[in-house]
Subunit: 299 residues, 2 copies
């Protein structure tokens, strides 16, 4: 059940096409089977990913480290005198053949996803986990509307945003929360201590552009007004939709991101927060995850 | 079952006291119950933590980012003319009242854990997961002996070690792999492309000092010979055993690491790799993980 939750939630928030083929796990887990025959195991503890991410020292440190690195980078980039380029891929270019436009004299910005990038959605994630529920879009819609105060700034975020804003960089959020709930998301970010965001100016939501769950259109809109010198996200769609192309295998997706021309951006303009709880990263069978030449058995 | 595997493996490799009280999960998962009544669900895909860490682009990037940051830091620290201090806690001092000794003119070193810090143990972890087995110390012992070539350097490691070595910094491994298997671990690190390590000189194993699974004794030994300017690990025992003290709640352990005097070391001398697959980070019930004032329900 947790695996189905992870997969569905990730697909919704990650901009992947919603079809039966992509929302169904490769094969159901034991817990999903149990629920399908009428037994709902009541979870006695959160799934391991949540224990690590939301509960542990290590999960907190992982977030704080990235935000410290990102703040240092943005502060240096902001005072740099060199001609600037966007870190948003130019429209029509791709991670394998990237192009980055000159900024001219646009004002500086750093663009962030929201969920499990700037904030941890503790209220909703605990609710789903305790109820043993799959991710439910109707419940998530209520969460967007009423959850302000029950999501928290991730470790390191508040200090990092202060440093970046102090360096003259505007913070912009590009999230797949719904354009139907702008006030709920503005209130949620404010209640988490992240300051004021205004829909259409510093907050962009799913529905703002015609490409739906893809963030590319919104990135192009943002880059038409701002010089984006850094981006933060917890899954690759927060950087370019091409990484979540249908039919891209687990291995090829990883290669696309970690080899070739964009590989040097990670930690140097593109900053990824660890999220092993949900998202398009949570997929694959044994043969997808493990290279065949690394198999081992005891004697 | 995956949760039991995560807990047991983590306790063994993390230096925690092995007692029934600490090795038993708070309550058994549905899979553990199934196995206890004679049914072994055959896992159809790896657990979500493994999908994220070993398979996904995001898990690879999370590793590469930390290693890029660490290499930058170590290179700068190595050319710094300032008098140096250890990043190893002085013997007898603690994270809440830390003391860091002057280095004098000891040669420079960076100290790393091995498992899921420098290398991913793909062979053994796939075997355990596919077999639906709990972490088994006897099987792990065989893995230490025969697994060379089936573990891989984590993303970013090889470049980072080259940069650090190029800056005159010696790489030292401090791991809870067993002192009974020095050749197996030397071979494993070499086969993963990390170069040569020599037990007792640049490789320290569990059993080398009388404090067993605690790494503090070995850290003191290393710091008596080297100026340790950076440390890398995937769990807090890789930095100080005090973080894994018995009886420390999830929340207090997190506070100890992320507040107070050592908080500033993360990303600036202490570097943590994300590992949501196993370790002392994978623990806690709902009340341990989620603050009570962040509870939410839909209408």
């Amino acid at each position: 059940m947790m695996r189905a939750l992870a997969l569905s939630a990730g697909l919704l928030l990650a901009g992947c096409a919603q079809t039966a083929a992509t929302t169904a796990p490769t094969a159901p887990s034991a817990e999903v089977i149990a629920s399908q025959v009428g037994e709902k195991p009541t979870p006695t503890s959160p799934p391991a990913g949540q224990q690590w991410l939301y509960g542990s020292a290590e999960g907190a440190i992982a977030s704080a480290q990235v935000y410290r690195t990102m703040a240092d980078y943005v502060r240096m980039a902001a005072i740099s005198a060199a001609p600037r380029r966007q870190v948003v891929l130019a429209e029509g270019s791709t991670p394998t053949a990237p192009k980055f436009d000159d900024c001219g004299d646009k004002p500086l910005a750093a663009v962030f996803d929201a969920d499990e990038t700037l904030i941890w959605n503790l209220g909703a994630m605990r609710y789903f986990a305790e109820q043993g529920k799959d991710f439910d879009p109707a419940i998530w819609d209520q969460w967007e509307k009423t959850g302000a105060g029950k999501a928290v700034a991730m470790p390191g975020v508040i200090d990092a945003l202060a440093i970046m804003r102090g360096a003259g960089v505007t913070i912009i959020v590009n999230t797949n929360r719904s354009a139907a709930n702008p006030k709920g998301s503005e209130d949620t970010l404010r209640a988490a201590g992240l300051g004021d965001f205004k829909h259409g100016e510093t907050l962009f939501l799913m529905g703002d552009t015609p490409d739906g769950a893809s963030k590319d259109g919104r990135r192009a809109l943002i880059a038409s007004r701002w010089c984006v010198i850094a981006m933060g996200g917890d899954q690759l769609g927060d950087f370019a939709q091409a990484f979540n192309a249908r039919g891209l295998s687990v291995a090829d997706r990883r290669t696309m991101a970690t080899s070739g021309p964009v590989a040097g951006l990670w930690g140097h303009g593109w900053f990824l927060l660890s999220n092993p709880v949900y998202g398009p990263s949570i997929r694959g069978g044994f043969a997808d995850i493990f290279p065949s030449d690394k198999q081992w058995e005891p004697n």
